[in-house]
C-alpha cells in the first residue's frame, strides 16, 4: 500500500544494506545535538546534522533589552567560553557608543580571555578522552581545570559565568592575591602538560585512532570556511589575534601553531600547544599591566550612534564575530552572532562520509562543536 503524496507525509525508501542510526540529543556521545548517519557495513555513507535542540532565540531577545542587560543571557550560550563570547559584543557596543576603554581594562580582558581558553581546552580534552574510551584522560584535565576555575573565581567572582567584559571596560579590578596564585598555577600546570603529552598523546593506541583520521585538506578548509583549531590543523596559520589584533595582542609575544597533516591528531596537538601559549600570554600580561581605571563611565541607558559595527575575536573554538546594527536608541536594532561551532559544522558531513563508524566520536569532537553555542 503506497501513501499518496498529497497526504503530506515524508516517506523514505528502506534499504536492506543501509542502517540509519540517529545519534540523538539524548546520547552520551553527542551533547545536545542530533545527527543522523546512514551506515553500510562499517562505513558511513551519509551524515545529516540537525541542530536546534536548544535554540532559545537569543538574537530576538537582545532587541528587547539594552546593551548591558543582554550580557548574562548571551554568555550562557557558550558555557565553557563565557568571556570570549561577550567580548566582541562589548567591543561592538563600545564602537557604537563612541567610547574607548582604558588600557588596564584591555589587559584584564586579555587575562580573563586566556584563562577561559585554557578552561575550554581542558574541557575539550576531557571529553575527547571519554569519546576514545580513556577514562584517565577525562579525570586528569577535569581535576586541573579546578585550579583555573579558582583563578577565574578570584578575578570574576563566580565559578563559571562571570559577566566580566561589559561595555565600557571590565567589572572590577584585579585582587592582590591573584598574581601569586596565578604564577603557582602556571608553574604546576606547565609540568602537567608535559605529562599529558607523554601519557595521553604519545600512546600508540591514541596515535592509531587519530592519525590519518578525518583529513581535511587545506584548499577545502579555506573554501568551507572553517575556523579555529580545524583551520590551523589544516596548515593555515590564521588566528584573529595576529590577523586583526585587538586589545593588546600586538605587544604580546606568542606563537600560533599549525600542522600540515590536517588530521584529527593535528587538531588535538593544536589544542595542547595553545594552552601553553595562553599561559605565556597571561604571564606577560601580569607583568606589563599598567595601573589606572578599569571602567569607563557609562550609564545603563547609553545612547548609540546610528550605524553598524562588526567585530571579531579569537574565541577558544575559533573566530567569533558580532554584527550589531543600531538605530540610535538604547537597545540594539539587530544583533547577529557568528559562532565558530556553526562555521565548523559544515565540515562534519564532509569528514564523516567515507569513514568508519568507530571514527565518528573522534572526528566529531575534534571539530569542537558546542551545540548550545551554535543554536544560540
Amino acid at each position: 500500500m503506497s501513501i499518496p503524496a498529497e497526504a503530506g507525509l515524508y516517506t523514505q525508501a528502506v534499504d536492506d544494506d543501509k542502517l540509519t542510526v540517529s545519534i540523538g540529543p539524548q546520547h552520551p556521545g553527542a551533547g545536545h545535538f542530533r545527527f543522523t548517519i546512514t551506515v553500510e557495513g562499517d562505513t558511513i555513507v551519509d551524515a545529516v546534522p540537525d541542530p536546534g535542540y536548544v535554540h532559545r532565540g537569543a538574537e530576538k531577545q537582545t532587541e528587547y533589552r539594552n546593551y548591558l542587560q543582554s550580557i548574562p543571557m548571551l554568555e550562557r550560550s557558550s558555557l565553557t567560553d563565557v568571556t570570549n563570547i561577550i567580548m566582541p559584543y562589548s567591543m561592538a557596543a563600545e564602537e557604537l557608543m563612541g567610547i574607548e576603554i582604558p588600557p588596564r581594562a584591555k589587559y584584564l580582558r586579555m587575562i580573563m580571555s586566556e584563562n577561559q581558553r585554557i578552561l575550554s581546552h581542558l574541557y575539550w580534552m576531557a571529553i575527547q578522552g571519554i569519546f576514545l574510551g580513556h577514562s584517565t584522560s577525562f579525570m586528569w584535565p577535569m581535576g586541573d581545570r579546578e585550579m583555573f576555575i579558582d583563578l577565574g573565581q578570584i578575578l570574576g567572582g563566580a565559578r563559571v559565568t562571570y559577566s566580566f567584559a561589559i561595555p565600557g571596560g571590565v567589572r572590577n579590578d584585579l585582587p592582590e592575591e591573584f598574581k601569586g596564585r596565578a604564577i603557582k598555577t602556571f608553574n604546576h600546570f606547565e609540568r602537567r602538560l608535559v605529562d599529558y603529552e607523554r601519557i595521553f598523546y604519545n600512546n600508540p593506541l591514541f596515535l592509531k585512532r587519530t592519525q590519518g583520521v578525518g583529513v581535511l585538506p587545506r584548499k577545502e578548509a579555506i573554501s568551507l570556511g572553517v575556523v579555529g583549531q580545524t583551520l590551523r590543523a589544516s596548515n593555515v596559520k590564521s588566528d584573529v589575534r595576529i590577523d586583526e589584533p585587538y586589545n593588546f595582542y600586538k605587544e604580546m609575544d606568542f606563537e600560533v601553531p599549525s600542522f600540515d597533516t590536517c588530521d584529527t591528531w593535528a587538531r588535538c596537538m593544536v589544542h595542547l600547544i595553545e594552552m601553553r601559549q595562553s599561559m605565556k600570554i597571561m604571564r606577560q600580561c601580569l607583568d606589563k599591566m599598567p595601573s589606572g581605571p578599569v571602567r569607563a563611565k557609562l550609564s545603563p541607558q547609553q545612547r548609540t550612534i546610528v550605524g553598524e559595527a562588526y567585530t571579531r575575536i579569537e574565541a577558544a573554538r575559533g573566530a567569533m564575530s558580532f554584527h550589531i546594527i543600531s538605530d540610535g536608541s538604547t537597545k540594539p536594532y539587530r544583533v547577529k552572532i557568528s559562532v565558530p561551532s556553526m562555521r565548523n559544522l559544515i565540515a562534519l558531513p564532509r569528514l564523516l562520509i567515507g569513514s568508519h563508524v568507530a571514527d565518528m566520536p573522534a572526528i566529531y569532537w575534534s571539530l569542537d562543536y558546542w551545540p548550545v553555542e551554535a543554536d544560540k
Binding site: L132, H134, S135, K208, A358, M360
Partner: protein
C-alpha cells in the same frame, strides 16, 4: 495469545513450548532429580559411584531428612550423609572452590579494580560503603540492583532475552568446574580439563549475539555483532598459544599434569610469546579496555548490554567477572606454575596470590589506554597474534625435541 490460523503459527507455538521446556527442565526438574534420585545413590555408595559394589538403597530418599538417623556421638557425619559435607560434590560446586567462592572473589575484584583505577586517576574511589575504604561497595551495588524493576522491552523476544543471564552464568560456572586451584581442591578431575575449558570459551560469542539480537534495538544489535567479531577473531590465537604449553608439558591436556610439569621451570620463560598472546586474547575475550568495543558507551550507549536492567544486569556483570577470574587462574596454571612455591605458604595461598597478581595486570591497562578501533582490533588478532603464537609453537617443539625441557 495469538490465534493459530495456519501451519506456520502452529509450528511456532510448538517450538516455543519446546524451548520453554528446555529452559524449565534444567532449573526445576534437574535439581529435584538430583535430590531424590542421584543423591541416594551417591550416599549409599559413599560418593564413589563408579566402583559401587553395595546394594543401592532407594528408600534412603524418603528417610534422608529423618533426624532419627543422626548419630549423637558424631553429628557432622549426618551432614556428610545428607550430601552436604565438605567433600561432597554439591559443596564443591556451590561453595568452594565453586560458584560462591568465585562470586565473592569477583565482587572483591570489582572493588579492587575501582580502587586501583581511582588511585591512578588522582581520585579516591569507593569510600563510604563499609568501615574501611568502602570495601562493601560491591555488595551495596548488589542490593541496590535487587530493588530495581526488571524491564523487558516490548518488542524484544522475552524468552531469549531472559535466558541470556542464565546461559552466561552457566557457561562461566562450567568454566570454573575444570580448573583445579590446589592439588586437593578441585571440582572435577579429568585428563582433558584444558580442552574442556577452551571448548566452553566458545559458548560466549553465541550468547553475546543472542543478547544483542534479542534486545531488538539497533545499538544492541551492532554491539552484539561487534562482540562476535572480536571474540571469534581472538579464539584461534588463544588455542594456538595454549598449544605451546601443551607441547612443553609433554602433550598432556590435564591441568594437573601441566602444573606438575612446571616443577623445574615455569612455562612463562620458554613460552613468553605464548604468555603475551594469551594475555591479550584473554583481555579481548572478557571485553576489557582497551578491547571494550562492544560496550563502547560513547557510541553505542552500552552495546549489547543496553536493555538489561537491575538484577539481570548484575548477573551478567558477575558472570563476566567470573570469566575473568577463570581466565586469570588459567594463566596462572599454564604459565606461572600454578600452586608451586616455597614451603611455609600453603599451595592454595600461592595460587590465590598469583591469580590476584595476574588480575591486577589485567586491570591496569584500563588506566592509560583508549579504545582500539574494530578493524585495527581484528587486524591485530588475525595477523599478529596468530603469527606470534605459531612462532612459539615452533620454539616449544624445538625445545622439546632437543631434550632441553
Amino acid at each position: 495469545m495469538a490465534a493459530i490460523t495456519n501451519f506456520e503459527d502452529f509450528a511456532k507455538r510448538i517450538l516455543k513450548i519446546v524451548f520453554w521446556l528446555l529452559i524449565i527442565l534444567p532449573m526445576v526438574i534437574l535439581p529435584l532429580f538430583y535430590i531424590f534420585y542421584v543423591l541416594p545413590i551417591e550416599i549409599s555408595c559413599n560418593f564413589n559411584v563408579l566402583n559401587c559394589s553395595q546394594k543401592i538403597d532407594w528408600s534412603l530418599a524418603l528417610y534422608m531428612f529423618d533426624p532419627t538417623k543422626m548419630n549423637p556421638l558424631d553429628p557432622t557425619s549426618y551432614i556428610s550423609q545428607l550430601g552436604l559435607g565438605a567433600t561432597s560434590p554439591l559443596f564443591k560446586v556451590s561453595t568452594f572452590p565453586g560458584l560462591t567462592f568465585a562470586a565473592l572473589l569477583s565482587s572483591m575484584v570489582i572493588w579492587y579494580e575501582r580502587k586501583l583505577l581511582a588511585k591512578m586517576q588522582y581520585r579516591v574511589g569507593p569510600l563510604y560503603a563499609g568501615r574501611i575504604e568502602g570495601i562493601l561497595q560491591s555488595f551495596a551495588d548488589l542490593f541496590k540492583l535487587l530493588f530495581k524493576e526488571i524491564v523487558i522491552p516490548a518488542k524484544a523476544d522475552a524468552l531469549f532475552f531472559i535466558s541470556v543471564p542464565f546461559a552466561l552464568m552457566a557457561a562461566s560456572g562450567a568454566l570454573l568446574a575444570v580448573i583445579p586451584i590446589s592439588p586437593t581442591n578441585y571440582i572435577a578431575l579429568s585428563p582433558y580439563s584444558l580442552l574442556i575449558a577452551i571448548a566452553i570459551l566458545g559458548f560466549f560469542p553465541i550468547i553475546t549475539v543472542l543478547a544483542g539480537w534479542a534486545s531488538s534495538n539497533k545499538f544492541s544489535f551492532i554491539g552484539g555483532i561487534r562482540a562476535l567479531y572480536q571474540m571469534i577473531s581472538y579464539e584461534i590465537p588463544l588455542i594456538i598459544s595454549v598449544l605451546s604449553v601443551v607441547i612443553l608439558a609433554g602433550g598432556s591436556l590435564d591441568l594437573m599434569g601441566i602444573v606438575n610439569a612446571q616443577s623445574k621451570i615455569w612455562f612463562i620463560i620458554p613460552a613468553l610469546l605464548a604468555a603475551i598472546v594469551f594475555y591479550l586474547t584473554a583481555m579481548a575475550e572478557v571485553e576489557r579496555i582497551p578491547f571494550d568495543i562492544p560496550e563502547a558507551d560513547s557510541e553505542l550507549v552500552a552495546g549489547w548490554l543496553t536493555e538489561y536492567t537491575s538484577m539481570v544486569f548484575g548477573v551478567i556483570n558477575l558472570a563476566i567477572y567470573i570469566k575473568l577470574y577463570a581466565l586469570s587462574s588459567l594463566f596462572t596454571l599454564l604459565f606461572l606454575g600454578g600452586w608451586q612455591g616455597p614451603a611455609p605458604i600453603p599451595a592454595l595461598a600461592w595460587f590465590l596470590i598469583k591469580t590476584l597478581i595476574v588480575m591486577t595486570i589485567f586491570i591496569i591497562p584500563r588506566g592509560f589506554n583508549p579504545r582500539v578501533r574494530l578493524d585495527q582490533l581484528i587486524g591485530l588478532g588475525w595477523l599478529w597474534l596468530i603469527g606470534l603464537s605459531f612462532a612459539n609453537v615452533f620454539i616449544a617443539v624445538i625445545l622439546r625435541a632437543s631434550g632441553l625441557l
